[in-house]
């Protein structure tokens, strides 16, 4: 690798989606020196930037909020925590107020009150970039992180590479915030191909625990020849089979698409928007949905277009790094997690946080992680540059090479996708099928000991391959350990919810995966509280 760029800072943020942007802003606002490194570009990169998000905002009326919290607790299989949802509802309101002060043009209702329920991705993230930079954060774009630095006191920085210059970089920092988003396995959902799981892998290599990895049975419908995964638009659709026979009509039809697809190709037409006025309205409201269809020469209100399902992994699934405290601490000192890189079970329980919770969670968890990381870093008696830090990365890294063979990332990634993307394995989960897939993934592990090609793409893709392989192994390990169906987890052999499993599944380790349960505060409301035990 060519020469190194080296720096020391108080807080290092990895990832520049909403969670990373809020984390960096929040840490800088506490007086910390902050560097933010993103694989792509703060402003365009990640799941929010190209599309947009609807937020979880509920007016500060006690009954309304209590109702929302109770509904979620039940829907999420009693794995969420009421106190955390209340915190999110309080915090997000303050942050959206800031977003408006920073220039986001929220529309207003008839009485002139701003309607802060939706954020247009490109606009929102452009503003966040400006604000983060103004707060004094040094933004390193095109700079994927590859591994963490650590010592006996915990995490103390990271190393990565600049994709434009080919230079490697190293940042020492007493607090690191992991905000690298979820892992979507290069399934080409809008904006999601940067989300390949390195954040989870590098954290696990440094000893961090994961939680909720079984809640990942999550696919989103998209036009087959496009990338836009806005299933909600199908509320206006009729679904058809290949012969043009209607299969389903209207609201939320997309929930049944996997079953329909078992029988053959599924087409959609937005023919329920049957007036010019409705059609114009939809087109204007959602350019990112309609533009690709129009470019493909399709009139979505009349023509039938083929649908596909894109796997969303831990992105609109729910698992991620286990949080251990209100400041979004992980199980390793010095390491914090925010947004989709963190498990969202505290607010969503066992179900998907897509559709409102995740966007608000990214904002709030980012703010909390930034604040607590800054506090830790500013109080540290040992400056990071004087710590004896070692690199923690091993899998798919030059340092982990154990054979003379070259690590060829592309076929390895294809082999991982073959086990993870198919509905047959990952959506219609059953014990023997998932177990066999997990075994095949396990057999791919030695490939990660190959020599990493000395090119920028070779280095980055090797690490992405290693991360996806291991996120896949964690997903299936957890899926087999939760012998019931709850929220996004389902096993054919155990179609019902089992009250005795009202706990979280905590994973740790890479080569050998440890697994244990963690009790949750509201389990008794379902029935018997689960005890913590090793399995």
């Amino acid at each position: 690798m060519p020469q190194q760029q080296q720096a020391t800072t108080d807080v290092l943020v990895l990832g520049g989606g909403p969670a990373g942007a809020w984390a960096a802003w929040s840490a800088a606002s506490q007086g910390a020196k902050v560097i933010l490194a993103d694989k792509g570009y703060l402003g365009t990169s990640g799941a929010t930037a190209p599309g947009g998000t609807t937020l979880l905002v509920i007016p500060p009326v006690a009954e309304l909020r209590e109702q929302a919290v109770q509904d979620r607790l039940k829907a999420g299989g009693y794995l969420s925590e009421n106190a955390w949802i209340h915190r999110v509802l309080d915090q997000v309101e303050q942050n959206l107020q800031l977003v408006e002060e920073w220039g986001y043009p929220f529309p207003k209702d008839e009485d002139g009150r701003p309607l802060r329920t939706h954020l247009h991705g490109p606009e929102y993230m452009k503003i966040m970039r400006r604000v983060v930079r103004k707060a004094g954060v040094r933004i390193w774009d095109q700079s994927p992180a590859l591994e963490l630095l650590h010592d006996q006191h915990g995490v103390g920085g990271a190393r990565g590479i600049n994709r434009l210059t080919g230079e490697s970089w190293e940042v020492k920092a007493n607090a690191v915030i992991m905000a690298t988003g979820g892992c979507a396995f290069l399934s080409k959902g809008l904006g999601c191909n940067v989300l390949t799981g390195e954040g989870l892998l590098m954290s696990a290599e440094a000893g961090a625990e994961l939680s909720g990895m079984e809640f990942t049975r999550q696919y989103a419908p998209s036009f087959a020849d496009g990338t836009v995964t806005r299933g909600r638009m199908l509320a206006w659709a009729t679904l058809y089979d290949a012969a043009g026979r209607p299969l389903h009509r209207g609201d939320r039809t997309f929930g049944s698409i996997p079953e329909l697809m078992l029988k053959g190709p599924v087409y959609a037409s937005l023919d329920l928007a049957d007036t010019k006025e409705k059609q114009e309205f939809l087109r204007n409201a959602h350019p990112i949905f309609f533009m690709p269809l129009e470019r493909a020469g399709i009139n979505p209100f009349k023509d039938k277009f083929l649908l596909t399902l894109r796997y969303e992994g831990t992105m609109r699934g729910t698992g991620g790094l286990r949080l251990t405290g209100p400041g979004c601490e992980t199980s390793v000192p010095g390491l914090y997690a925010a947004g989709d890189a963190a498990s969202r079970e505290k607010v969503t329980g066992a179900i998907s946080g897509g559709g409102a919770y995740n966007a608000s969670w990214a904002i709030c968890s980012g703010s909390w992680a930034g604040r607590s990381a800054a506090r830790l870093a500013l109080q540290q008696p040992h400056p990071a540059e004087r710590r004896m830090l070692r690199a923690a990365g091993r899998y798919g890294m030059p340092a982990g090479a154990g054979t003379a063979r070259t690590l060829d990332a592309k076929p390895l990634i294809a082999a991982v996708q073959q086990e993870i993307l198919p509905l047959r394995i990952n959506y219609f989960r059953s014990e023997p099928v998932v177990a066999a897939a997990l075994q095949r993934l396990n057999r791919l592990m030695p490939e990660l000991g190959g020599q990493v090609p000395a090119t920028v793409q070779g280095i980055v893709q090797s690490r992405e391959a290693a991360a996806m392989l291991n996120v896949g192994r964690w997903i299936y390990t957890a899926a087999l350990a939760r012998k019931e169906s709850r929220g996004l987890q389902r096993l054919a052999e155990y179609p019902a919810l089992d009250p005795h499993q009202t706990h979280r599944l905590i994973l740790s380790g890479v080569n050998t995966i440890g697994i244990r349960t963690e009790s949750v505060p509201h389990a008794h409301e379902l029935r018997i509280p689960g005890e913590e035990r090793a399995i």
Binding site: A49, T54, H120, Q142, F281
Partner: protein, 110 residues
């Protein structure tokens, strides 16, 4: 996938090189950026939004190449169409300021 950089329009600002999340473009020492890793394109359309002169075109298909040419794009008026819809650029109103999404949510009941 990204398919066209218009040499006529491009002002060599390299904004697309900087903003592409999947590092598809390479800066050229003299001249317009090169589409160096087309198959890595994630079809997110962000480069189109950030190009100040509407010199880029991303076709919706993320797997295959359509082979559409610059001349065809000019003829069909497709360059810059997305940026216009989003309301970015001088004198335009950003789509973010419309109440479309709020109404949409109200109508769909989500």
């Amino acid at each position: 996938m990204i398919e066209v950089i218009s040499a006529d329009r491009c002002i060599e600002c390299n904004q697309c090189v900087s903003v592409c999340p999947t590092n598809v473009f390479d800066r050229a020492d003299n001249g317009i950026p090169v589409i160096a890793r087309q198959s890595d394109c994630q079809t997110c359309f962000m480069c189109e939004l950030y190009c100040p002169v509407d010199a880029l075109y991303v076709a919706p298909d993320s797997e295959g190449i359509t082979g559409i040419t610059e001349a065809e794009l000019e003829e069909q008026g497709l360059l810059g169409g997305y940026r216009e819809k989003v309301g970015w650029g001088k004198g335009r109103q950003p789509v973010a300021s419309h109440d479309f999404m709020v109404k949409l949510a109200a109508r769909a009941g989500f």
